[in-house]
Symmetry: C2
Subunit: 329 residues, 2 copies
């Protein structure tokens, strides 16, 4: 029930996944509305079931409402995973509420004090075999982080990328205001030194804001305030590019001709910032996987998110993270 | 002598300013090299003089070299302003060295503990009469800021924008990870509350990363780490767009046709991120004005920076800042 186009696009995405994959999806929400949408599309009932929920948490609601609305679709979906009836959760709903609902019901991985929100976003590729998607974390579950927490983010993000992107040794970077190890104040200097001595990750040093759209690192760690500003800036520029493309398409013939000729190039730039076309991003730090989709997710984004969640479960991503954290120095 | 295209583009810019304006520019640097460049261009000798300097600080040099290289062009240019022989300094050189040279020789404004580096960059306009340029500060002179320092940034930035952009009441925003006043941790919550009660500025509340490319605020304040990452991210995206435009222009005819048809649109997006085409950005907090240009500045950027510096002097920007700071609550 969460998302700007919910439940329609969410249900359509799950229906698509039911016919295109062998993943079993439980749709948690308003049974009658969900069934009415399903009646209009093709789906495989063997891979799709409905778990009724009588309440919702709105996109603009205070996240703390998860503690009152025990029968909301979000709270019930998280409970299904906590109880072992589901293996992972996918939601395009209220981000703060997703993090809080997970924090209330999921166990944290050993050594982790609080969850982190990652963002998967496309960027340019510099190295052979590199995934075109990078992982930026934390993007808003925290404000400040201690050095140890930044190292934990690096270890969890690296484990996630190793499994989901199948890059055997993801490049890990520390987002900073300069490439030198002396930059960024005491916490970042300490984090840099600790990251240097981690055996489980491939640390490539500090990265700067411009490196976010380049391929210097595959996993970029930072405190939530910085990550959130960077992510939303990428989002803002993506929207501006989208507005340009739409305006051009609507305007007049020469524009349309121009756009067609340039479409490859415009798409290349747009793909660089338009992360909404990609499934979802993980909330990391729990024993269970939670894939958080962008609020504007359409059916295609939901299918991709369901696939990412299933891949994460099959590839035992939480176990991978637990084992990597145990080797932390 | 500072800048990626120095001294050529710097000297050419000063020569242009000498014929196009009544501003008197002192070129500080290698006298023979400067004169050789001047011999190739048109200039008005009444508005142009050379102050010989035998040393330079390189773009990649440790900024602390300003304390050893007393005869570098940067140190001598700052000294000329500190001694009253010049009214303001313009440089496209090593940013850290510029800040340090100014800190060593200029007096801080009353109440200010350390200087801030601002960035002037173009963005979309939302309100009537709004300047298409916004001011983001601090972008790297600090790492963290206290709440009081963020308020000082707001007051100085607002005074600068009021004079330079001629917007009578610039909108001031606090860069944060949410629009609610409760967001961003103790320092930002405190800064928000203090900004609310400032009589001298028009505070529009928290702004988020995506607002940086929109017109919600004209002056955006943040600690240096966040501002530096945001600025360099804008720079990285600008470079990517520039590469696309160049690749398209070089590739083949249909691309060139497409590019011409779309040029207005591509330029609109590029202008949104390509801040290199605009003069320079101020180092704020001193009794003297220092306009820091981007390292890649060409002659046009230098002319604009010289004009901005002269405008700031004529409009008594440091006095405006001193008076606004005195009214701080």
């Amino acid at each position: 029930m969460g998302g700007d186009a919910a439940p329609d696009e969410i249900v359509r995405g799950a229906a698509l996944a039911s016919t295109a994959t062998d993943i079993e999806t439980m749709l948690v929400g308003d049974e009658a509305r969900i069934q009415a949408i399903l009646d209009q599309v093709a789906y495989n009932p063997e891979n799709l079931s409905i778990v009724p929920a009588t309440d919702v948490i709105g996109m603009g609601d205070d996240p703390r409402l998860v503690r009152e609305r025990k029968h909301s679709s979000l709270v019930l979906a998280v409970r299904a995973a906590a109880d072992g009836r589901a293996d992972a959760v996918v939601s395009a709903g209220n981000t703060g509420a997703c993090i809080l609902a997970a924090a209330d019901q999921f166990a944290l991985l050993p050594g982790i004090r609080r969850a982190a929100l990652a963002s998967v976003y496309p960027r340019q590729v510099e190295h052979e075999g590199q995934d075109r998607l990078a992982l930026l974390l934390d993007v808003g579950a925290t404000v400040r982080c201690e050095a140890e927490e930044l190292v934990q983010l690096a270890i969890m993000g690296s484990a996630y990328a190793r499994r989901i992107s199948k890059v055997p040794e993801p490049r890990v970077g520390l987002l900073n205001m300069g490439s030198e190890e002396s930059k960024g104040g005491a916490v970042l200097v300490d984090a840099h030194a600790r990251l240097r001595r981690q055996p489980a990750i491939r640390f490539v040093g500090n990265v700067e804001g411009n490196d976010l759209v380049r391929g210097k690192a595959d996993v970029i760690v930072c405190e939530g305030l910085v990550g959130n500003v960077a992510l939303k800036l990428l989002e803002g520029i993506s929207e501006t590019l989208g507005e340009l493309a739409r305006a051009a398409a609507e305007q007049r013939l020469v524009w349309r001709v121009g756009l067609r000729l340039l479409s490859q190039g415009v798409e290349r730039v747009q793909a660089l910032t338009d992360y909404t076309q990609y499934g979802g991003s993980p909330i990391l730090g729990f024993e269970h996987l939670f894939i958080k989709c962008h609020g504007r997710s359409n059916a295609r984004a939901i299918v991709n998110a369901i696939k990412v969640a299933a891949k994460g479960v099959r590839d035992r991503v939480p176990t991978e993270m637990r084992e990597a954290l145990a080797r932390m120095r």
